[in-house]
Symmetry: C2
Amino acid sequence: MAQTFTERDPFSPITYSYLMEEVLYQGRSQHQDILVFKSPFFGRVLVLDGVVQLTEWDEYYYHEMLAHVPLHAHPHPRRVLIIGGGDGGALREVLKHPGVEEVTLVEVDAQVVEVSRRFFPTLATGFADPRTRLIIAEGSAFLAGAPALFDVILVDSTDPVGLAANLFTQSFYQRAAQALTPEGMLTSQTESLHFHRDFVRQVQGRLAQVFPIVGLYAVPLATYAGNWWTFSIASRRHPVSQAIRAPQGVTRYYSAEVHRHAFLPPSLREELMKG
Amino acid sequence: MAQTFTERDPFSPITYSYLMEEVLYQGRSQHQDILVFKSPFFGRVLVLDGVVQLTEWDEYYYHEMLAHVPLHAHPHPRRVLIIGGGDGGALREVLKHPGVEEVTLVEVDAQVVEVSRRFFPTLATGFADPRTRLIIAEGSAFLAGAPALFDVILVDSTDPVGLAANLFTQSFYQRAAQALTPEGMLTSQTESLHFHRDFVRQVQGRLAQVFPIVGLYAVPLATYAGNWWTFSIASRRHPVSQAIRAPQGVTRYYSAEVHRHAFLPPSLREELMKG
């Protein structure tokens, strides 16, 4: 008899429930509750502090769009930094680019990486790649001492509460800009245009204080409450809304056409971002 | 103390729950259960047979995109037929077009219209408009005897079960084509690209058997499970993916730019619609 898993998401006015066939893992790390369950529809589901982080069924939309938009807009991404992303999904996408020489993944919670290696082998493939450097540390603290050598920074965080709140501040973006090369770009997940529009607006404003080029793109995600999920992208020199490189690696959702299309039309973005 | 309203949606692998401040109406018509409740976040919510049909907070995305895409792609829409839509939301949008001379709204359930008039005055405004002709009948049966005089047909139905299943069949589309002028267009809501992709594919195929031009556009909706909500549009002569008329009436989401952008990029549509 299937049980039900119900999210406890303080950021959503709708509560999502999933059928839960089997609990595969349940634990508490130094930082958070971790749950892995099997859903009859979504396959395996990763839950942190009561909020669904990914399902095997649709994780590729999020991870492809987080990684491939900056990596196809940048002329030659060689060194990539991922902050968060301990499940390995973004890492897997970055490593599809043969030109990438090194990926540094800075995850605060070692146990997320362990759980992903054990229960999400299709996501965690990249941890075995010789180009991967895994560092267990808090992302903002890591950046404070980082040299300016990254071509692309991806912020793959949980919702902006607790430790993750550090990853959306203006001082974080200043540190990130200093850790980028002069041609560098940063992309961050920035929540839902339906339910967290004020937050999206705030982040766009903070990025614009630090970077000359700031874009907003969106992807419809079934399993994040509010869907219409946004990514904010900031760039020190190059435009961001078009792929300037040929497709790198096989993707299921991302394409040059999807890249272009994911950016909100200018008049809509302006309307939505009005204070 | 707020209660919880939980949907019973057989088409969704995620179950949505809402905080319910107050039940404003609860009844059973000849066809279905009808519930109206007040949500602290979404305002008033209309529920039919356990599934949320609309909330005051975000109904305009759906109703604007259903109505204004065909009405701006058609060169001179004068006579419009709405099948379903007893809440009046689509009707309200159609009537924003001053060139529209007559709107026939064919709703199977008189009680939905009554409930909307009473509890959703901002949606039901159009029922008092002299251009509106309200007919209580089943949409497919109505079309069987309809003369070929409609410029635009909107299908604003519930999920494709029970009576509403009739509104997605090939014979329904044949009847609809016969009720359109040679320049006519039809738009129908066609469920979610995430959760009902096979269904979207089937409907697109059926429309292509009847109409020379078939398009697919989408809008991210927070309150329909699976979001990434689709509209299928079919046209006897004119292209559909661009607004060819100046903006008609004030809209909150729809614009000529949003119109264009809502259509899926060709390669994505092809990929998603693969059998």
